[in-house]
């Protein structure tokens, strides 16, 4: 299975949570599968999904925030593991779909193939560092600590269309929905 099925699995467990989604095909696939006002789609700035989700989690302690990230993007912003752990926002759940590839640019290999992201998160200090298949996502979202989850998949992109919302519209629609 590839990323699209992983996103379907994740969204099956999502109720009214805020979702921040990684740049490129992940956002396109999420938009195609389950477009909602509470989805923030990244169109630029690879690597920053977890940082955007972290800022949201701090600003909105009463909302649960789920980040859908990728292995290549995580490798671009490894410092975020440290910052998130040190601040431990209990309402942040950071899911990395690990397909071992830069999917949106042609499935070039990432170094995530030769490391274990869950073990890295554990070594940083995350008490909640899990493989997706081991847990019930709904329960982990409600836990008392920030959580880091790896969902292993094969590489591959679906035929999801380009998102036809302009970025300010994505932002304004999102802000209207979480502030209403």
């Amino acid at each position: 299975m590839a990323r699209r099925e992983a996103i379907v699995d994740i969204m099956d467990k999502i109720d009214d949570e805020i979702v921040v989604c990684n740049i490129g095909f992940p956002s396109r696939e999420l938009y195609d599968i389950d477009d909602r006002d509470k989805n923030f789609y990244m169109i630029g700035s690879m690597g920053l999904a977890s940082s955007i989700g972290f800022g949201l989690a701090l600003a909105r302690p009463d909302n649960d925030v789920v980040v859908i990230d990728g292995d290549g993007s995580l490798l671009m912003n490894m410092g975020s593991l440290v910052t998130v752990f040190a601040n431990n926002p209990r309402n942040l759940t950071w899911i990395v779909i690990d397909n071992g590839a830069y999917g949106s640019t042609g499935n070039q290999d990432t170094y995530a193939q030769v490391i274990d992201l869950c073990e890295i998160a554990k070594s940083v200090g995350f008490k909640n560092s899990f493989k997706f298949e081991e847990i019930d996502l709904s329960e982990v979202i409600k836990s008392d600590d920030a959580s880091f989850i790896v969902y292993d998949t094969e590489p591959g992109n679906s035929k999801a269309p380009i998102i036809d919302l302009d970025p300010p519209t994505i932002k304004n629609r999102f802000m209207d929905s979480i502030n209403s």
């Binding site: 921040v20 923030f40 990244m42 169109i43 630029g44 700035s45 690597g47 920053l48 999904a49 977890s50 940082s51 955007i52 989700g53 972290f54 800022g55 949201l56 989690a57 701090l58 600003a59 909105r60 909302n63 912003n77 410092g79 975020s80 440290v82 910052t83 601040n87 970025p167 300010p168 994505i170 932002k171 999102f174 802000m175 979480i178 502030n179």
Partner: protein, 163 residues
Amino acid sequence: MDSSEAIYNGLKDAGIDFIVSVPCANLSKLLDMIDEDNDITHIPVTREEEGIGICAGAYLGGKKTAILMQNSGLGNSINALKSLMELYEFPLIMIMSHRGTEGENICGQVPMGESTPRILEAMDFRFFKPGNPEAAYEAIFDSWDLSIEEGKPVSILLEISYW
């Protein structure tokens, strides 16, 4: 008002309540003032680009945001400033200790310091270079509304002579 108080007061009166930082020696007193303020969330970050992403998220959640950093951090953040902040029209105040300016004694600061204003010009971002605390207060106080109007970050460059 001393140099740090002017910045702090400008940020407070502009309503800034969420700040990320990477330190500079010149920002030490200001960072202490912000840490002591319970109405401001202050998050030290590992790299400035990460801080830009955190500010975007905090603004989505209703916060008014600023980043404190050296001008070297501008170089570490350029893509996020363009393809996140400008792309989505996020406001942000960027308070930069502008190293490599007159009086700099570390040669490593000079190349980036000399290019910093021209980089901001090339990015088509507004910036101010206040020379004294009163001017800094005014520039910072006005920057949040200006940033919303522009749909882009607004920068305050504080040269070595300012401090």
